[in-house]
Each structure stands twice: as structure tokens, then as C-alpha cells.
């Protein structure tokens, strides 16, 4: 039996589009509506105009959370990409030369397999593991390794260092993924280019900065976007790992946790929606910025 074109198209699109429209588009649209109300999360609500946004403007916790997201947004990509590039370079061309051909160090496939594994673990499970690794007494892994005479380090219990601990865990989990990604990119760079440059007497550092880096630029951009998204989120990590959800004293507070806490703990779902609206425009500008930057590069290439 032959169907016409349109019944087929509608038949195939109806369910996926409906699900997406209800749970994703629907949620985004309602977010704008609810941001203007005093909805608690249950029952009815009243319109309160822009009161939520006014409150947000004067909410010091919001600004703290925003600053922390900014910290992660800046440092997570830089540290992760630098480490991943370094390791990927060592794995691919760090092993000295044989007959003029540079190659990877011994055992590089094993390293790649090990490095990648954390990517497979849920951030929630990683959070529980590192909550113990950073334990502020001798039961924590790191403090257990320090000499007995030392005062235990506070890690997550320290206002000053807690956010850095979050950054360290995010980097720990992410690096392996980008090592594999960059390795694949480096593997597709023809060996002849390296050989020619090596014959001309180029040092390893020159090889890296003049050949590897420019040819990997596309991969690095993608990495930047993915890590940017990860830095925006970090919800599981902060919610599970930190003292008092975002503590001590809001020193690890981030926007995702603020939205969650307001919606489900403080019964301020309207205010949580207003936070979402602000985030919507932040994400939009991030996307716009990335598109602009990558497009300009595409013209250059």
C-alpha cells in the first residue's frame, strides 16, 4: 500500500514534535510567563510584574553565583584544553624520532584508555567520590596521604578553596575526553608535514605551535563550546559535593543550584523562572558569540 507524502511526513513528525513541544519548548515559553508571577510551585499564582527581576537585581547571592559561573566559564576551558593538548601532543609525537619520524610515547594507547574513563562516570557519582577524596579529616584520601603531623586541609569546608576544588574535579573528569578528541585530530595531520619541518630543523615546540595548534583549531573551538556548557551547569557536583548545597557561606553557589533551590526548597518557583530568563539571555549571547567567532575563522581558513 502506498501512502501519500504528507500523511507520511505528519505521521513521522507528530510524536517527536509533540513531546519536544510539550516538555522543552513548552517549559521555555512558560518560563517567561511564570517569571512575572509569585508562583510557589503548587497551586495558583498572581501577576506581580517585574518584581522578581527587581529582587534579582538586588540579590547578592545571584551575583555571587554569576561570578562563580564566570570563574568556571573562564578557567575550565583554559585549564582543560591546555592539559589535554599537552597530553595529546606527548601521546602522539612525544616519543622521540625513529628514522626521522616522530611518534607517540610507549604505551600511549593504554594512557588514552585510562584517561578517557572518567568521562563515562556520572557527575553525580564523581561528586560522591570526590566528596570523600577531599574529606576534611584523615578519612579523606588526600588528607590521609599527607604527613600525620600536618593540620588536615579543609578543601570543601574552606570558603577560599571550595570553588577551586569544584574546578579541579571538573577538569579531572573532562581532560581525557579532549585528549582523545585532540589525538584523533593530530592523527589526521599528515606525518609528511612533521617530517618536512623536522628536516628543516624545527624544534618540538615549533612543531607544536606552528603545525599542530593551527591545524587543530576547529577541534579546540568545539572543545571550548562543550566546556563552556559544562561550566554553566555543574549542578550535580555542587549540589552533592559541597557543604550545605553551595556553601560554605555560598562560596560555591552557582546559577543552576540557585534555580533548583528557589524552585524546590524555597518555594519560589516564579523567582526561579526569572533566574531562568536571565540565563536564557546569557546562553543566547554565549551561543551568538561562539557562532560569530567560529564564522570569522571559517572565512580565514
Amino acid at each position: 500500500m502506498r501512502h501519500g507524502k504528507y500523511p507520511f511526513i505528519i505521521g513521522f513528525l507528530a510524536v517527536p514534535v509533540a513531546l519536544y513541544a510539550i516538555f522543552v519548548v513548552g517549559a521555555y515559553l512558560q518560563m517567561f510567563r511564570l517569571s512575572l508571577t509569585d508562583w510557589t510551585g503548587y497551586g495558583t499564582f498572581n501577576d506581580i510584574g517585574f518584581a522578581n527581576f527587581e529582587k534579582l537585581w538586588n540579590d547578592s547571592v545571584f551575583w555571587t553565583a554569576l561570578r562563580h559561573n564566570g570563574f568556571l566559564l573562564l578557567l575550565l576551558p583554559i585549564v582543560t584544553i591546555a592539559l589535554a593538548l599537552f597530553f595529546a601532543f606527548l601521546l602522539n609525537v612525544g616519543g622521540g624520532s625513529k628514522g626521522g619520524v616522530t611518534r607517540g610515547v610507549w604505551g600511549s594507547p593504554i594512557y588514552r584508555v585510562i584517561f578517557f574513563f572518567p568521562q563515562l562516570l556520572a557527575l553525580a557519582i564523581v561528586a560522591v567520590i570526590f566528596g570523600r577524596v577531599f574529606g576534611p579529616d584523615k578519612s579523606g584520601m588526600i588528607n590521609g596521604l599527607l604527613p600525620d603531623s600536618w593540620e588536615p586541609w579543609l578543601f570543601l569546608a574552606s570558603e577560599r578553596w571550595a570553588l577551586t576544588c569544584i574546578l579541579v574535579v571538573l577538569v579531572w573528569q573532562a581532560v581525557g575526553f579532549y585528549v582523545v578528541l585532540f589525538s584523533a585530530g593530530m592523527g589526521s595531520i599528515p606525518q609528511e608535514i612533521y617530517e618536512a619541518a623536522a628536516l628543516d630543523g624545527a624544534s618540538r615546540i615549533t612543531l607544536f605551535s606552528k603545525i599542530t595548534l593551527p591545524l587543530l583549531w576547529g577541534n579546540i573551538q568545539v572543545a571550548w563550546i562543550y566546556l563552556g556548557i559544562a561550566a554553566f551547569d555543574a549542578f550535580a557536583l555542587v549540589n552533592i559535593m559541597t557543604v550545605n548545597q553551595g556553601g560554605p557561606n555560598n562560596s560555591t553557589q552557582v546559577l543552576s543550584l540557585q534555580i533548583y533551590l528557589n524552585a524546590f526548597k524555597y518555594s519560589q518557583a516564579g523567582y526561579a523562572s526569572a533566574l531562568g530568563v536571565v540565563l536564557f539571555f546569557l546562553a543566547l549571547s554565549f551561543a551568538w558569540l561562539t557562532l560569530r567567532v567560529s564564522r570569522r575563522d571559517a572565512v580565514d581558513a
Binding site: 500500500m1 502506498r2 511526513i9 513521522f12 513528525l13 510524536v15 517527536p16 513531546l19 516538555f23 522543552v24 521555555y28 518560563m31 511564570l34 503548587y42 592539559l83 597530553f87 606527548l90 622521540g96 624520532s97 610515547v105 610507549w106 604505551g107 594507547p109 593504554i110 594512557y111 584508555v113 585510562i114 584517561f115 574513563f117 562516570l121 556520572a122 557527575l123 553525580a124 557519582i125 560522591v128 567520590i129 566528596g131 570523600r132 584523615k138 578519612s139 584520601m141 590521609g144 575526553f177 582523545v180 578528541l181 584523533a184 592523527g187 576547529g218 568545539v222 551547569d233 550535580a236 534555580i259 533548583y260 524552585a263 524546590f264 518557583a269 523562572s273 531562568g276 536564557f280 554565549f286
Partner: protein
């Protein structure tokens, strides 16, 4: 951890066929000219490998230890005895078994649903011209720009009004909805790269739209479908935010998925000082990942990096 290293020939992303068949043995060492960078390179790589597996080994060791050993002993000392009591407790009393099965159930159904619905939508969007095609495509793709937690409160409201809170069915529908953006984006791009000729030949032979999709396109797209299936399985298995929002309220604990359950145990372990049990629960949730990774390492790396390779 030896499982991990038993498969060294496999090399990075599947798309890179430069895999050298070099074994991880010492045969290469003899003809190697020593270079100064080599030592530093090895040291750096070894340290990072240690930092990667160290915490995991520590968790496994601690799962056999008493509280006393955990607090007073050195972290990497071997446990005094190996008893699986903590594991039995974690499995039944702390309900890790239940959470594990919940996760298996939810992720199997939702990944199957995501793949079916996602590939249907992507096929139509990639291969048919119709009014609104661009609009629907960009609607799906725009979801990629926004983090899931942005609209948490309204999502809760929608689930509440549809009576989907605290239900596996609700969680599955929401997993599918939030996985569609990337699935459709990836598969549309993939379907577009497939040749049109075979499809046209099938049309000439009298195959309808449905047969062309299931018997011509799906088999041709196998490699892409496998990659994105793995991507979705891992993503949904590791999801924490959505279950926390959907599975809450009275009686929800029996419906927790693994990530939620582990987080919950970590809180109660702190109150009740049952550290061994927490570490056993962690080991139980990491171990399956290691086994699966050891077997499907190549496919998993390819699947997870699929979205990032242009």
C-alpha cells in the same frame, strides 16, 4: 583495573584508521633513541594516569575497610580482611540493587524511544521538502543552546499538571524530549551524507515511504545510529538533574535511579557513619561501567566524541 589495559591496540576515535598495530610490549624500546623529552613525557602521563585511577582504586579498597581503618590507616593500605558484608548491605539495605534496576529499566526504554522517534523525525527533516521543514529543524536544534536546568520550575509544573511526577513513564517521556535536540541534529547531518541513489532505486522498485525508511535508510545509517545510541545511553544513565526534579515527594525513594540513590546514600552515610557501605555502593556503580568500557571501549569513545568531531 587490569581489565582496562587489556585492549591497548584500540586507538581513539573509530574514524581514525591510523591505528598502529603496535603492541604494548617492550619490543619498541630496543631501537628507540632516547630523547630528553621522553622522560618528562612519561612522568607527566604517568602522573595523570595515577591521578585518574587513584581515587577509583581508593574507593574499592575502602569498601572493604572498617570505619577505624578508614580513619586511622593510610589510604592505600590493603584492607585487613575481605568481607562482602558491606556489599550485601549496600545492595539490599541501601537499595543499590533497586536503584540499579530502575536505571536499567528507564534508560532502556527511553533510549529505544529516543532512537526511534529521533531517527523518524531526522529522516523526514533530512530527506523531504515541505512547508515548515526549516522551522521544525531549527526548533529542535535551538534546544542545544540552552542548558536543561534553565526551565526547571516550569518543567516541574508541566509534569505536575500532566500527573507525571514520581512516575517512570513521566521520566522516560522527559528523557526522550530532552534527548531529541542532539539526536535530531546529529542524525539529520548524518542522513544528508547518505547517497540518494539507493533510495531512488527502491522507489522505482515500488517501495513505499515506510519501507524505504526501515529497510533502506536504517541499515545504511547503522554506524551513525550506533554512535548516537551510545551517546544517549551514557547521557541518560548519568542524568541526575531530571530524576531529582521528577522523582520527588512521598514514596519516591523506591523509584530513584542510580545517580540519585548514590547521592542519597552519601548524605545518610555521613549521618550514620556507614562509610564502608557508601564505598561499596560506589564500587557497585563504577564496576559495571569498567566492564562495559573494557568490552566496548572503541565504540564508546567513538560514540561520545561523535558530536564533537566535525
Amino acid at each position: 583495573m587490569t581489565n582496562l589495559t587489556s585492549n591497548p591496540g584500540a586507538n581513539a576515535v573509530g574514524a581514525a584508521p591510523e591505528a598502529k598495530p603496535r603492541r604494548a610490549g617492550r619490543d619498541a624500546g630496543a631501537e628507540r633513541r632516547v630523547n630528553p623529552l621522553g622522560g618528562v613525557a612519561h612522568l607527566a602521563l604517568f602522573l595523570w594516569a595515577l591521578a585518574t585511577v587513584g581515587p577509583l582504586i581508593w574507593v574499592v579498597l575502602a569498601s572493604f575497610k572498617s570505619n577505624e581503618e578508614i580513619f586511622l590507616g593510610t589510604p592505600f593500605a590493603l584492607p585487613e580482611s575481605y568481607s562482602f558484608d558491606t556489599y550485601a548491605q549496600a545492595w539490599s539495605e541501601a537499595h543499590i540493587g533497586q536503584y540499579f534496576l530502575n536505571s536499567v529499566f528507564v534508560v532502556s526504554v527511553s533510549t529505544a524511544g529516543t532512537m526511534l522517534l529521533g531517527s523518524m523525525a531526522a529522516y523526514v527533516l533530512a530527506r523531504y521538502k515541505f512547508v515548515g521543514n526549516r522551522f521544525i529543524y531549527y526548533l529542535f536544534v535551538s534546544g542545544l543552546a540552552f542548558p536543561t536546568f534553565m526551565a526547571l520550575a516550569p518543567l516541574f509544573g508541566i509534569a505536575q499538571s500532566l500527573n507525571l511526577l514520581n512516575s517512570f513513564f513521566g521520566l522516560i517521556l522527559i528523557y526522550i524530549a530532552y534527548s531529541l535536540s542532539f539526536t535530531v541534529f546529529f542524525l539529520v547531518a548524518f542522513f544528508r551524507t547518505l547517497p540518494h541513489e539507493i533510495e531512488e532505486a527502491a522507489t522505482v522498485d515500488g517501495a513505499g515511504h515506510l519501507r524505504r525508511f526501515f529497510q533502506v535508510m536504517m541499515p545504511m545509517a547503522k554506524s551513525g545510529l550506533i554512535s548516537i545510541t551510545i551517546f544517549n545511553i551514557v547521557g541518560q544513565w548519568n542524568q541526575y538533574l531530571l530524576p531529582v526534579v521528577i522523582m520527588q515527594g512521598a514514596g519516591s525513594e523506591s523509584k530513584y535511579v542510580l545517580t540519585q540513590g548514590i547521592a542519597n546514600i552519601s548524605v545518610s552515610a555521613g549521618y550514620q557513619a556507614e562509610w564502608g557501605q557508601l564505598f561499596a555502593a560506589l564500587t557497585l556503580s563504577i564496576l559495571p561501567m569498567i566492564v562495559v568500557y573494557a568490552i566496548f571501549q572503541r565504540q564508546i569513545q567513538a560514540g561520545l566524541t561523535a558530536g564533537a568531531v566535525k
